[in-house]
Structure formats: C-alpha cells, structure tokens
Point group: none
Chain length 191, copies 4
DNA sequence: AATGAATGAGAGTTCATTCAT
DNA sequence: CATGAATGAACTCTCATTCAT
C-alpha cells in the first residue's frame, strides 16, 4: 500500500477543492459542492480538515510543495549555474502554463487575505532547493543582487499571470512566445 | 457643483467597497457592511448598482480608468519614446506601491472568476493613451516584439505583486530597490 | 401606539422561544422552529438578537423582571412587614403555579451553564423592591438571619420545583395544599 | 472480580457523561466527547446504551439510586424518628454540597423534558427506605401532613438549589450556615 | 467486544436582495 | 430618493448514529 485509505480520501477532497476554486473562486466554492465533487459526504471533510480555511491553507501548502518539487526535479547540478537558473525559469513557466487550475488557485490564494507573511515563511523549507541555487547564482554575479521575493515575482508571478491571461483567452502562448518571454525574464534577472 | 449629490453617494459606495474588499476580500465583504462603511442604507446601493457583481465590476472599471489616467498623466510627448516607456514603467510602480488598497482589490479581481476577456477588452479604450506609446515603441524597435498583455504582465502585474508582498511584510521596497526593479523590468522589455 | 412595530415582533420571538423551550428544552428548540412558531422568517431573529444564547439570555432577563414586578405588584406598604413577606411568598407560589411555561423555562435556565453569578447580579436591580422588604424584615427580626439567595431558594425555587412537579403530574396542588406549603415555607424563614 | 470488564467500561461512560453534562449541559455534551472523556471509542457506547437519551436516563437512575443509598446509609433505626428525619435532611444537604457535579446533572435532568412522572415513579423502589421513614414520621405527627413530593422539594430541591448557587459563587455555604438552613427546613416540615 | 471513519440530516447563522414606508 | 426591516435560500459546521473492519 502506497497510500492509506484515509489519505486517499483526503487527496480527493483537496483535488475537488482545487478544481472548484479554480473554476468558481473561493466564494463560489461551497463545502457541500466540494463534498459532491470529491464523492464524499459533507461531514467527513471536517474529519480531515478543521474547517474551510484550514482546508484551503492545506491545499495551498501542498500545491506550493508540489510546484517546488516539480521545478526542482530534473535540475542537473553538473550544469553551470546560469543554465540551472534558466532551467528553473523555463520549468516554472511550463508548470503554470500546463496547469491552469493550479495556477488559478495559487493566484487567488496569493491575492487574498489568506496570504500572510507567516504562511509564506513556513513554505521556505520546501523551496530551499531552488532558493539555494538562486542565492549561489547571486553570489557568483550571474543574476542581479535583488531580494529573493523579487525573483519570485519576476518568475512565478509573471508565469502565473500569463497563464491566467491565456486561460481567459487574452493571449495565446505558443512555444516560441514562451521562449521569448523566458528570454525577457532572463534579461530582467541576469546580472 | 462638479459632482451631483447622487454621484457623490455613488462614489462613497465605491470607495467603501474598495476599502472592504482590499481588507477582507470578496467573501468578507457583505453588502450591509459596504452600506455601513459608506454611511448609506443597504437598499440604496441597488439604486446605483444592479447587484453586487455589477458593483464590483463598476469598481474595477473605474479603478482601471483611474490608474490609466494617473499613469498617462505627466507624460511628455516631446520626450524620446524610450524615456516615455520608462516613465510609464516607473509611474506604474509608484502608483501601486503608494496605493496598496487599490492594488489589493485589482489583484483580487484579476485572479477571480470576475476577470474575463470581455471586461478586459472593454477597458482598452481607456488604456489607449498608454498602449499607443507601447505600440509605437515596439514599431521603432525600442521594446521587444511581444503581445500587449505580456507587457501588461511585466509591468502592471509585477508592480502589483511586489506591492502586495510589501503590504504583507515580505519585502521592503526602498526607493533604490524600486529603481533597481524598474531597471530589471526595462531590461526585460527593451529590444 | 403603545408598542412600536419592531418591538411587537421582538416580543413574538421571545414568546415563541419561551413556549418552545418550556415544552422541548433548549436542545429541542431550533431557531428555525422559533421562527415558525413566532410567524417570522428565520433570518429576522438575528436582527433582534445577536445569537441564540443572547436570545435566551434576554428572555431570562425579561421574565425575571416580569416576575419581580408581578410579585411586587399589589404589595401594601401600610401593612406590617410580616404580612408583606407572607404576601410575597404567596404571590410567588401563585405566579409559578399559574404559569408553568415560564416556570419551566426559568428552571431550565437556572440549572444550565447559562446561569452565572454575573447574570444574577445584574438582575438585582429589578428585584430590589422585594429584597428591600426582606432586608427590613430581617433587621426587624421577623425573618431569620440568612443570606438573600437562601430566601430566594426557599421561596422561588421551592415554588418552581413544585409547579414543575405539578406540571408532570407528580402532585396536585390544590388551594389548601398551597396554603399549607406557604405556611411551611413561612415556618422555615420566620425568626 | 467485583465488576466485570464490560461493567467497568459502562461505568466509565456514565462517569464521563456526568462530568460533561454537569460542566457543559446537555447541549454541550456530544457523544464523541463522552467517548473521548471516557477513553473509549464512539461506537462502543451504543453497545452499552441504546442511544443518547437512554444513556442520560440510565445515568439519572443510577445517580438517584446512589443518592438514596448514600442518604439512607448510616441511619440508625434505634434512634427516635425525629432524629432520623433530621439525619436524612442533613445527609441530603451534605451529599449535594460535596458533589456539585452530580447535583448539576440531577437538576438539569429534573428540569428538562427528560423528567417525567413515569421515570420518577419507577425510582420509588429505590427511595423506599427513606420514604418509609417519612411516612412513619408523618403518621406519628412528627412531620406535617404533606404529600411526599413536597418533602422531596423542601429537602432535595432546596439542597441542590443551594449547592448550585454555591457552585456559581452566589453564596458561600459554611458549616454553620448549612446548620441554620437545615434548621429552617426542619422548621418547615416538622409538625 | 471494539474501533473510528463515514453518513446525512439538521443546527445556527449570514447575506444578497426586496419593498412597504 | 432613501430607509432598514424582512425574507429565505444557502452557507459552514456539528453530531447522533451506523457499520465495515
């Protein structure tokens, strides 16, 4: 058994929440709808999560972790740092563009009153793999001397903003365009 | 009289909505609270706005217009285009950083299901002053050949993302840092 | 107009609450049932009372006041103190015996976690007319030197206990029996 | 073994119920909390008790029995009847004053819709030891000619009322005060 | 005998919206 | 124009009870 039976249900609830919030927003996502979407009873959600806020917070943390892992995955430490940073930027863009649901949720969370300094600080443990590379690139004067969150904005927030604009039909992000944007972001952050 | 008495009340309602949503989010902003904050009765809101969604939409449009006007204001057509574009970028940053309430609302709107291609297209009339400059700068190969919304992301969304991170205490944006970031953004968009 | 229209609805809600709690208990009295019994919508209750606890508390205070007034009413200050005390005891018994609903509610409240020292202390203002007589009777050595709450128990709690036993059919309180019990209580408290 | 293993668990459930209801009331006492307090699973309660109402009823009966036994215990049949009655009154007061949890539960039960003529009639078997003495005292004209439940009220309900007032801090029942109250009650019931 | 995850009805409460005044 | 009491559907959350294990 890889996942216990309880864990599986927990995941179904998180998935349903992600789907609904990305489609209907926080306000449009009732717990009863989450239950229905997840195929569970309304009451059981409270067995796994203290309340709606906690459920949303847990979802955010899980997705942030997952994103960090996905971006870090495939990184070749043997490569020069500049290549590693570019890899991160590109991976970040691909990640968001291919998963509009996750992007939508993360953006809503990040712009809502849920988003606090504390939560973000807690997440640093999981993004350490990436921030370490950025820090080293900074010391080696490969990228600019800017605070970490600024890189976060230039990379993650730009990627997710664009992903959402694509989702609503404001732009079409072809592979070439993505390449150009990655180049632009690279130009922004390189020393 | 510059504003009619009715118009004044309308504005008070919009201001109250902006304040509450920026602080408490869509969910935490009840119409009754908007009324109380605006110092009007609950019923009268429906005289000025069809319903809550329409109120929020109107607020978004009004703020978008205001922002476009504020950024366009002071632009010197006599200056070289590159200077004008830099001016826009800088103005945009200052605008968001000094008005966290507006930024918070705009971001919440922009990441919510309210945000649609249609609304955004409607707004183009008001941002024309700015987009025209960007278009001309593009033709003169001062800035990259990227779709308009990409510039929108690199400038507006980056500015508002950073403004919000500052609001929750994740970064402190000193004047020098803002200059550096404007430089970085300029590096991203320049040809 | 003796009562404003809003006050009238408030009273209907309080009456409905009294009736239902006396019949079904706190647990068996849902807000929706109160609304139905009062002939109002579920939501409006929260316009008059902050929440269920507050509604119940208000009901208690109102009934306590009403009871104190009813018992005090008709008291002849010209009569000797001993007659006045006996009058109080008797009135108290009659009051509870003729209004089993009120008695049931008051008893449930008084034995529940709602009942606190603070609430009871607040009520002293309204029972002052009665407690003053008791105090004077005590000074004149007409009744025993016992703390006020002990008299409260011997008179009010005994009366309500008996009223409830009658309500469930455990005793039948004829007029003569009530007279005998009043005599017994008088024997308990007299000097 | 005095108690079988099953009986022991049954008692733990009853004890937990008593504790929680005395502290939080019927409403604030969920079966899951009873289970946790008793250190058993939620499901097993239904092996010992048909449902929550039955559990509460059983608890009441058990406590009523226990109280009757405790009060009867130590009674010396060789003593004159008047002394025996006084002994009962005093024991009753001490019992309630020293066990506020039991008193609180019994009072809540006695004032709730659980309390019926039938339940009370059933309990007569267990209080027979006491009621017999009262009956004999009545025949010998030591105490007044009042129905049994009236004595119940004057003794038990007065005792529990006072115990609760002490529990919430409305009075402090010193030994001397208790003696005085017992005297008062005796004055009420004696012929 | 024992567990505790699961159910689902129903609780308290909120809130967008209406409408008599 | 303006009020705010009133509505009632919908929300979050709880809990007595069941049942597969």
């Amino acid at each position: 058994m890889v996942t216990e039976p309880g864990e599986e249900k927990r995941l179904k609830i998180l998935d349903a929440t992600l789907k609904l919030i990305s489609e209907k927003g926080f306000h449009g996502t009732a717990m009863s709808k989450v239950a229905k979407e997840a195929g569970v009873s309304a009451g059981i959600i409270y067995h796994y999560f203290e309340n709606k806020d906690e459920l949303i917070l847990e979802l955010y943390k899980a997705q942030k972790r997952k994103m960090a892992d996905a971006i870090y995955e495939g990184l070749d430490p043997a490569q020069p740092l500049s290549a590693q940073v570019r890899y991160i930027v590109e991976k970040c863009f691909r990640y968001h563009l291919t998963q509009p649901g996750i992007t939508s949720f993360m953006q809503q969370f990040g712009t809502s009153p849920y988003f606090t300094c504390q939560v973000e600080t807690e997440m640093r443990v999981h993004t350490k793999g990436i921030t370490d590379i950025m820090d080293r690139a900074q010391k080696e004067m490969i990228i600019k001397d800017l605070p970490g969150p600024v890189f976060g904005t230039l990379i993650i927030d730009v990627a997710s903003s664009l992903a959402q604009k694509q989702a609503v039909g404001l732009i079409e992000l072809t592979d070439e365009l993505v390449d150009d944007i990655v180049d632009a972001v690279w130009a922004a952050i390189r020393y």
